[in-house]
């Protein structure tokens, strides 16, 4: 096989592989779920934003509880 021909075949293969990789990265999963459909789902929904804000507060409260110093007050020594 002439080297020029081989190079062309390799280049063609590389192009096909790149195309397949691109398809793999953008195609929705086979189970029908596609998280991209949820993008912007609640953007203009203030009611839902309130719910998420409540959830965020709960999570933050959980964090604060852990961050708070736990050192107990020592009893005064006599």
């Amino acid at each position: 096989v002439a080297s020029g021909s081989l190079e062309k075949r390799v280049a063609k293969l590389e192009l096909q592989v790149a195309k397949l990789q691109g398809e793999l990265s953008t195609s929705p999963p086979k189970n029908g779920k596609d998280w991209r459909r949820t993008i912007g789902m609640f953007t203009d929904d203030p009611g839902m934003q309130e719910i998420f804000e409540e959830a965020r507060k709960i999570r933050e409260a959980d964090r604060r509880k852990t961050r708070a110093p736990t050192a107990k007050r020592r009893k005064p020594t006599r």
């Binding site: 990789q21 990265s25 953008t26 999963p29 189970n31 779920k33 596609d34 998280w35 991209r36 459909r37 949820t38 993008i39 912007g40 789902m41 609640f42 953007t43 009611g47 839902m48 309130e50 719910i51 998420f52 804000e53 409540e54 959830a55 965020r56 507060k57 709960i58 999570r59 959980d62 964090r63 509880k65 852990t66 961050r67």
Partner: protein, 139 residues
Amino acid sequence: VRPTAARHERPRRSVESQLDDFRGWFARHRHANDPLGLVVPYGRPTQLFSFFSEWEIARWTENSARILSRLRKERIRIGTQDLQIASIALAENALLLSASLRDFQNVPGLQVQDWLHHVVNFHTSLGDHLQLGQRPSSP
């Protein structure tokens, strides 16, 4: 999402993040007693289910539980919910995406990054935890 994200894996949400949204719903509407006023709020969980139906959920497993026990023994001081999420991510060998790096960075071995600020108009429920199935092979 950055192309690098799409190249590696499909993102997932942890079951703990999923529960967060429902906790938020209960907190917001537990005191509501006006029947007419409940029409819209009672539709919200349906919307949340619809949202989650498009996501793969990273579940709580026996391995997650074992990791949580280990982290507790190591006295990793982050919130209980965050610790559970970290345990799921470690059990799944996942890259955790979160806006709360301050806490998650305290967990040894956990790979966490904050990409959310790079994502335009991307409203997940909390805008919080996404997980990729596998860590990238190189940092």
